[in-house]
């Protein structure tokens, strides 16, 4: 029985050591171009690199071993750790950096961890940009107790209780959970925006009886995992993120018998900087001391200077030079060596080390990193200004902009909002290497002394097309103007009303209506979750049988849905953008179209359906010719079908509508006929 005794011994050993896996990469380009020259983990948050907060927190919570996974700019992270207090072995926590350049997702990292077998017992999984004040030992204790009761528990996910109206709630971090209140086990998990209607499958209620539905939880993205999580990731190589993992576990719950549990944090802070919006929110929370014990005075990382603080939340280093007449309104942090000249107004901002800020500057909600120069009379709102940037006099930087490293803009220009600039033009990967591109010294569109190039987000996001938010700033879950606490009922907002409108239409034809709305939801979900088209086809077929729909109606529905989904999403977009979205969507689901619409009859059904839809909706009418043109080019609808449909005589009482559509289509049909004749001539 020797092996048994040995394993017991091992268990005892395992009890002692707390391990954490920190992922020092976000695998997206949300902060581009700021992440071009520095890894995400080393971007400053209130003048201290994000990673320092995380490591300091883990050490203070008694974690003994931390594995830091670096992918992008790994050498910088390593150098940073070597210079920090984690490098000299004086700390009680050992930090190991692991380079894994091949990793493209959290899933890859965890598979790598598994292959190196560095994890001996339950461990914490968090990202380098997590700011937290949770007691980790208590969390681990809860996890272990939960696992003693329910053996199948593989992971405890933490959620912070936060009202959906809170600024911290961000659209893309939103989750909807159904939790078993006695075991705290996740029964149903859905990531969604607030506007979509929550749909909980009946099985959830049937299987679990009592469930608690949570809309009030912020996903902290701090997980306590058992080692089997790693094996599960290895076994399922398609899991990219923890989100995939949770969904996968829930789907396979009956087969594998694994469960995931939640730990809801109250009065504790734990949130992750997922996008520039959250960067601002968490910076503000640090300044407002909501993240206690983390505050702007805390001497962590390389910050050794003393920082004084006064009401209302003004923090400044001792060697800051501030002229008289500077108005620091509220929630401002100023780093060492910075000078600010007279009549400047600053509120809700963080200013880095050694910055020079001129006179009559207005700054609101800006995060300015080190060595930045801002000249007189500038106006900056709600933006991130990276290191070594120069903003020449009288320049206006509008909200949601990121000025990348070493960029120069101005003077005397107003930059548009949502702008992202970098100091060198985007490299075209397909360009000829030998061909030396001439880089202009001055870029007149951003001011006469400027040197700035638009950061093309498509180039960066090639790798992760799956991230629908890539390059986005990020939005609060409930927009500001709707954050009225008085009428809770209206809080879900206006988009829901659209849904209701379509609901009314549906009433007319019950079965078809139900089928149509189900179809619509299926497609929306498919888009969100990237379900393969063939699976969508299967689902549609089963829906057809479920609602007893004739095949003709399916043909009509297919095209209508495919146009309807982008239409709803881009309800307020200009025609051009709408058209682009519709065409893109059609392209994605081309397979679906070719599957259903293959003969003459379905083609005519399809066109009739488009006609009806166009008559219902002005905007569809306006893009109708282009859509038909696309269908023609894609060989979905053929010329004879179009001609036959075009020549169908109008139904009684609808002559006017009939004529309207024909008028719209006339140009296209004429072109079609000419093209046909030409090709005939050529073939002759």
């Amino acid at each position: 029985m020797a092996p048994k005794g040995k394993s017991k011994n091992d268990d005892l050993k395992q009890e002692e050591i707390l391990q954490a896996v920190v992922i020092a990469d976000s695998f997206n380009v949300r902060f581009a171009p700021a992440t071009d020259k520095k890894p995400r983990a080393l971007l400053p948050l209130v003048n201290v690199p994000m990673l320092d907060y995380t490591l300091d927190y883990l050490a203070s919570e008694g974690v003994q071993e931390t594995l830091v996974f670096c992918c992008h700019h790994a050498d910088q992270i390593r150098a940073h750790l070597r210079d920090s207090k984690w490098g000299d072995g004086k700390s009680s926590m050992s930090v190991k950096t692991i380079l894994s350049e091949g990793c493209r997702s959290v899933g890859d990292v965890l598979r790598e961890v598994d292959s190196r077998s560095m994890i001996r017992s339950d461990f914490f999984l968090l990202s380098c940009d997590t700011i937290s004040s949770v007691n980790l030992k208590a969390l681990m204790k809860d996890h272990k107790e939960g696992r003693d009761k329910i053996k199948s528990c593989v992971m405890t996910a933490t959620y912070m209780k936060t009202s959906p109206l809170d600024r911290m709630r961000c659209v893309e971090d939103n989750v909807f959970l159904a939790v078993d209140p006695t075991t705290q086990r996740i029964c149903y998990y859905q990531t969604q925006s607030l506007d979509t209607r929550v749909k909980v499958p009946v099985e959830v209620f049937v299987t679990y009886g009592d469930v608690l539905l949570h809309q009030d939880l912020l996903d902290s993205q701090l997980y306590v995992c058992s080692p089997s999580v790693l094996h599960l990731f290895t076994d399922n190589f398609d899991y990219c993120s923890v989100e995939d993992f949770i969904k996968g576990i829930l789907i396979n719950e009956e087969i594998l018998g694994n469960t995931i549990h939640v730990n809801v944090l109250r009065n504790k802070y734990c949130a992750r900087i997922t996008n520039p919006y959250m960067y601002g929110i968490i910076s503000q929370d640090i300044i407002r001391c909501r993240t206690q014990p983390i505050n702007p005075c805390l001497k962590i990382g390389h910050r050794t200077e003393t920082i004084s603080c006064r009401r209302p939340n003004i923090y400044q280093s001792a060697d800051v030079t501030i002229a008289s007449g500077v108005n620091l309104k509220q929630n401002v942090v100023i780093g060492k060596g910075t000078t600010i000249q007279g009549q400047t107004e600053i509120s809700d901002s963080v200013i880095g080390h050694n910055c020079r800020i001129g006179a009559k500057v207005t700054m609101e909600g800006c995060y300015v990193w080190d060595n930045v120069t801002i000249e007189d009379g500038c106006e900056l709102r709600n933006s991130i200004i990276c290191g070594n940037v120069t903003v020449y006099a009288k320049t206006t930087v509008q909200p949601r902009s990121i000025l990348g490293w070493d960029v120069k803009v101005g003077p005397d220009v107003t930059l548009e909002a949502n702008l992202r600039l970098q100091d060198a033009p985007c490299k075209d990967e397909f360009a000829d290497e030998s061909e030396e591109e001439v880089i202009p010294e001055v870029t007149p569109e951003y001011g006469t002394k400027s040197r700035a190039f638009a950061c093309s987000q498509d180039a960066g996001s090639d790798d992760d097309e799956s991230d629908p938010f890539s390059g986005d700033w990020g939005d609060p879950l409930v927009p500001k103007d709707r954050g009225d606490i008085e009428d809770d009922d209206s809080a879900p907002g206006s988009d829901l009303e659209d849904d209701e409108d379509s609901g009314e239409e549906i009433e007319e034809d019950d079965d078809f209506g139900m089928f149509y709305s189900e179809f619509l939801d299926t497609l929306k979900r498919a888009k969100e979750e990237h379900i393969k088209t063939e699976n969508v086809i299967l689902e549609v077929n089963s829906l057809k049988h479920a609602y007893n729909i004739a095949i003709g109606d399916v043909h009509q529905a297919v095209i209508k849905v495919l146009v309807d989904v982008p239409l709803k999403e881009n309800a307020n977009a200009p025609d051009k953008a709408l058209l682009a979205a519709v065409l893109r969507h059609l392209e994605t689901y081309k397979e679906l179209l070719t599957h259903y619409i293959n003969k003459m009859e379905p083609q005519i059904d399809c066109l009739n359906s488009l006609e009806d839809f166009a008559l219902e909706n002005e905007r569809v009418l306006s893009i109708l010719p282009k859509v038909v043109h696309y269908l023609y080019n894609a060989d979905i609808v053929e010329e004879p079908a179009i001609m036959q449909w075009y020549r169908t005589p109008p139904v009684e009482d609808e002559e006017e509508e009939h004529a309207k559509v024909r008028r719209q289509m006339k140009a296209f049909v004429t072109w079609l006929q000419e093209a046909e004749e030409e090709s005939e001539e050529e073939s002759d």
Binding site: A59, S60, K90, S91, S92, K161, T162, S163, P164, L165, D166, R167, N267, Y269, R288, C289, R290, T291, Q292, P293, N295, C297, L298, K299, T304, T306, I307, S308, C309, R310, R311, P312, N313, A318, Q330, N331, V478, K480, G483, D484, I485
Partner: protein, 350 residues
């Protein structure tokens, strides 16, 4: 190498202490002082040094690190200065015994100009550690020393008002309660509500207690004979850095001409002067969530929350300090500061 002592244990202890300080786990002031001195004693006993200056530099370096954990925690700095002063004194007296300094020099001020700290000094380690032991004893016994003076200040049938849950004040009142009957009005001292615990403990010791919210201070003051409070820090000019709410009480006491007594151990005596509210380590903000349920304010813009921990109280509001070493008027505090700390150690941030 025999000279290299394994210091990982010391570093672990320091880190632990700093984490506790930072997390604001309501460490008692006595514990903060004791743990600081204890850590410095360990440091001194484990360190090799070439000269006294070298030793002082090391203590100073470690002290600075400890102080960095929470700049508002002045007691750590006070204790570092006390230990430095002990080293200086022991060195000078050691030299004197060796005849290194002439007998006349005994009365000379101990400043760096007159003493050369680079000289070697045998036996210094043992004497320093012994003196630090005495300092630890002083710290541990300070609350009791203060309590012993209680009967001189509290008389029969008096009404005493106090604030929050100071351990020193609790011992003081309990000691008086053994012999005399009097009435205590406790204020709750939210958000920590230390006053509730204090009221419970006093009631258990058979003392008449009334527990009131902080807002009732002015209304109750008319019937009060004395205000007896604890504090966080005593500043060199005789003012206080005390938990928020005490200034309100001091103002009410002044209005009703009620004397204010402050019970404090000498380790709370800081050489710092009050310069402005902006000075480092004075303003400390903590999570406002304790006070206001922020959830109820979710989605509302333009409301700012702040939870400040300390406020300054001018010496003019205080009538008497009851130290473990005796009672003093606020105007005499500067003198105690001069006695306790060496002038070269006053500014540790250099």
């Amino acid at each position: 190498m025999p000279g290299e002592v394994d210091k990982t244990d010391l570093y672990d202890r320091m880190e632990n202490f700093m984490n506790d300080l930072r997390k604001d786990e309501r460490l008692g002031s006595c514990e903060v002082a004791r743990r600081t001195v204890d850590l410095l004693r360990r440091l001194i006993s484990q360190t090799k040094w070439t000269s006294v200056q070298d030793l002082m530099d090391q203590v100073w370096e470690a002290g600075k690190q400890l102080m960095g954990a929470d700049p508002s925690e002045s007691r750590v700095g006070n204790m570092v200065r006390r230990v430095l002063k002990i080293i200086r004194e022991e060195f000078v007296s050691g030299l004197r015994e060796d005849g290194g300094i002439e007998a006349d020099g005994a009365e000379a001020p101990l400043d760096s100009l007159s003493v050369d700290y680079t000289q070697p000094c045998p036996n210094l380690k043992a004497t320093v550690i012994e003196s630090i032991g005495e300092l630890l004893q002083e710290i541990d016994g300070s609350a009791e020393n203060i309590a012993q003076q209680a009967l001189e200040h509290i008389h029969a049938d008096e009404t005493i008002m106090t604030f929050g849950g100071s351990k020193t004040v609790e011992a003081f009142l309990k000691n008086a309660g053994r012999k005399r009957k009097f009435h205590v009005i406790c204020t709750e001292g939210d958000p920590q509500f230390g006053g509730q615990t204090l009221a419970k403990n006093l009631a258990a010791a058979d003392i008449n207690v009334t527990l009131v919210p902080n807002s009732h201070v002015f209304a109750m003051m008319a019937r009060v004979n004395k205000v007896i409070i604890g504090t966080h820090t005593i500043l060199a000019e005789g003012g206080l850095k005390a938990p928020c709410g005490i200034f309100n009480m001091a103002l009410a006491a002044k209005e009703h001409k009620v004397p204010v007594f402050v019970c404090a151990s000498t380790y709370k005596l800081s050489p710092e002067q009050f310069r402005s509210e902006v000075q480092e380590g004075f303003q400390k903000y903590v999570d406002p969530n304790v006070f206001y349920p922020l959830e109820e304010f979710a989605g509302i813009e333009g409301v700012e929350f702040g939870n400040v921990v300390y406020e300054h109280i001018d010496p003019e509001y205080i009538h008497l300090f009851i130290f473990n070493t005796g009672t003093n008027a606020p105007s005499y505090v500067y003198r105690l500061v001069k006695e306790l700390y060496h002038p070269d150690d006053l500014d540790l941030n250099v």
